[in-house]
């Protein structure tokens, strides 16, 4: 699984957790979770649940505050992804 695939899945997740439509085409690794996507703390929690369900990656609650950009999320997923760890 590469960065592009993860970004695509994350875009789907953002659409799922947000009520208002978002421009998924415009999402990049530099997109800010709070300032650009307006994702609040509850939606962040939802995002972590979706990531676990869809990608099998567990991001702990204590790791959430460190996630400022979409790129931060991508990077953490890449680090923890089971396949990546197996290849490790």
């Amino acid at each position: 699984m590469d960065e592009k695939e993860i970004l695509y899945i994350l875009s789907e997740i953002f659409e799922e957790i947000k009520d208002d439509p978002i421009d998924t085409m415009g999402i990049t690794c530099k997109t800010l979770l709070r300032d650009d996507l307006e994702i609040d703390s509850l939606q962040t929690a939802e995002m972590l649940v979706e990531i676990e369900e869809r990608l099998g990656v567990t991001i702990e609650d204590v790791e959430a505050p460190g996630l400022k950009t979409v790129g931060d999320v991508v990077e953490l997923i890449l680090q923890k992804h089971p396949k990546r760890q197996t290849e490790g």
Binding site: P21, L42, E46
Partner: protein, 417 residues
């Protein structure tokens, strides 16, 4: 509770209507179907009924909703929430108010719903049962609490007045409209979005209703709902939402709002007798209280929209109640059950039926009770069998009688300055 009107000088008018129903999602389509005696009940397409012995219901066609909400939002969101948001959006637009949520609106919101956010609730319980509490989504509480729909309405459309949810089963939205009327009369608010949103067309709720044993087993969808008929055999479930903009008259005039009708009376009582069996005395008291609140007499009512759920007991008791309240006058008033066409949309019924009353007044035509082929000899009032008719209607009365003996009656009048 005695609900007198003698202290209130503020008048309450209806300036906007939005509805989503099995008969369509515009006022024109809804009224045309009622006037033509068309049923909105069909074989279920949205709900998977393959495992159920009953396969019919009044469903809202999803294509009607796409002009208000995205397909994605509709598919992922609670059904009653979707219906409520659509109806509110349309009501606001109909009232000449913004429905884009860009500007705050000084209006309250009182929503009546019997089941609340039912589909989100069923999904959550399903997760609990299959995967345990740790797998419940973080948003479970905000999404499933009973006031979730009203919350989301006020947030999306920036309604700044007070908001809350009334749950009284089939009388929910009638109570909501009644309370909104009282609040505007009292001066607490100048404008309130009031009405209902409900969908019982969910696997658990649908199955539970089947087990209650009062759904019609008739597989012929348009013929199944037969209020007051000798061969009636139960109700048919449906879904829907109807939101009305209620406004203080001078406030409405100051912004040159179109006025549909005036709500002039509200009466509410409890039977205090039985959880499911209705009582004519409690219902008659609600009717009389509504008339008293409207400062009207029995001879002033030109049309009654019945609760009319086509159960053996409801139709019999409602007939008794109308006679108890009106005496001999009962035989002179046309009474019809529009549920024969809409199905029973649970908590939304009162709001949808008030819209039917408003249209009756505007068009001077009373909608029929369809499928009334052979009236029950004990239901011997003029129930407008099968075909609508011309009738000058200035004042209509709408009954909503719920499980638990919760009764709500509204009186609506042709607006005259």
């Amino acid at each position: 509770m005695v609900m007198v009107n003698n202290q209130m000088k503020r008048r309450v008018v209806v300036t906007g209507i939005g509805l989503v129903s099995p008969l369509g999602c515009s006022l024109e389509a809804f009224w045309q179907a009622l006037d033509q005696g068309r049923s909105g009940i069909r074989q279920c397409r949205n709900l998977d009924v393959s495992d159920f012995p009953i396969k019919i219901a009044g469903e809202v066609d999803n294509s009607f909703l796409h002009s208000d909400l995205t397909v994605k939002f509709i598919s992922k969101s609670d059904r009653a929430l979707v219906l409520g948001l659509c109806a509110t959006s349309r009501a606001l637009a109909d009232a000449g108010l913004r429905n884009d949520g860009e500007e705050p609106i000084e209006a309250g919101c009182i929503l009546g719903t019997g089941l609340g956010p039912g589909s989100d609730m069923e999904s959550s319980y399903s997760i609990l049962a299959s995967k345990g509490w740790r797998k419940l989504r973080p948003m479970t509480i905000p999404k499933t609490m009973f006031n979730a729909i009203a919350n989301r309405i006020t947030i999306k459309y920036k309604l700044l007045g007070q908001h809350y949810t009334i749950a009284s089963a089939c009388a929910s939205s009638s109570h909501a409209l009644g309370m909104a009327t009282m609040m505007i009369r009292s001066g607490m608010e100048n404008m309130i979005l009031a009405g209902g949103a409900d969908s019982p067309l969910l696997p658990g709720i649908f199955g539970a209703w089947i087990n209650l044993g009062i759904l019609s087993p008739n597989p012929e969808a348009p013929l199944a709902f037969r209020p007051f008929d000798k061969n009636r055999d139960g109700l048919v479930l449906s879904e829907g939402a109807a939101m009305l903009v209620l406004e203080e008259l001078e406030h409405a005039k100051s912004r040159e709002a179109r006025i549909y009708a005036e709500i002039v009376g509200y009466g509410a009582t409890s039977d205090a007798t039985h959880l499911t069996n209705p009582d004519p005395d409690g219902q008659a008291r609600a009717i009389n209280l509504a008339l008293q609140n409207a400062e009207l007499g029995h001879s002033d009512i030109d049309y009654i929209n019945a609760h009319g759920t086509a159960t053996i007991l409801n139709d019999l008791v409602e007939t008794q109640a109308i006679k108890l309240a009106f005496g001999k006058r009962a035989y002179e008033i046309p009474v019809s059950s529009t549920k024969s066409m809409t199905g029973h949309p649970m908590g939304t019924a009162g709001a949808i039926e008030l819209v039917a009353c408003i249209q009756t007044i505007r068009h001077n035509r009373v909608p029929p009770t369809i499928n009334l082929d052979e009236p029950d000899s004990m239901c011997d009032l003029d129930y407008v069998p099968k075909v609508s008719r011309h009738c000058h209607v200035d004042i209509a009365l709408s009954n909503s009688f719920a499980f638990g003996g919760s009764n709500s009656v509204l009186v609506v009048k042709r607006f005259v300055e």
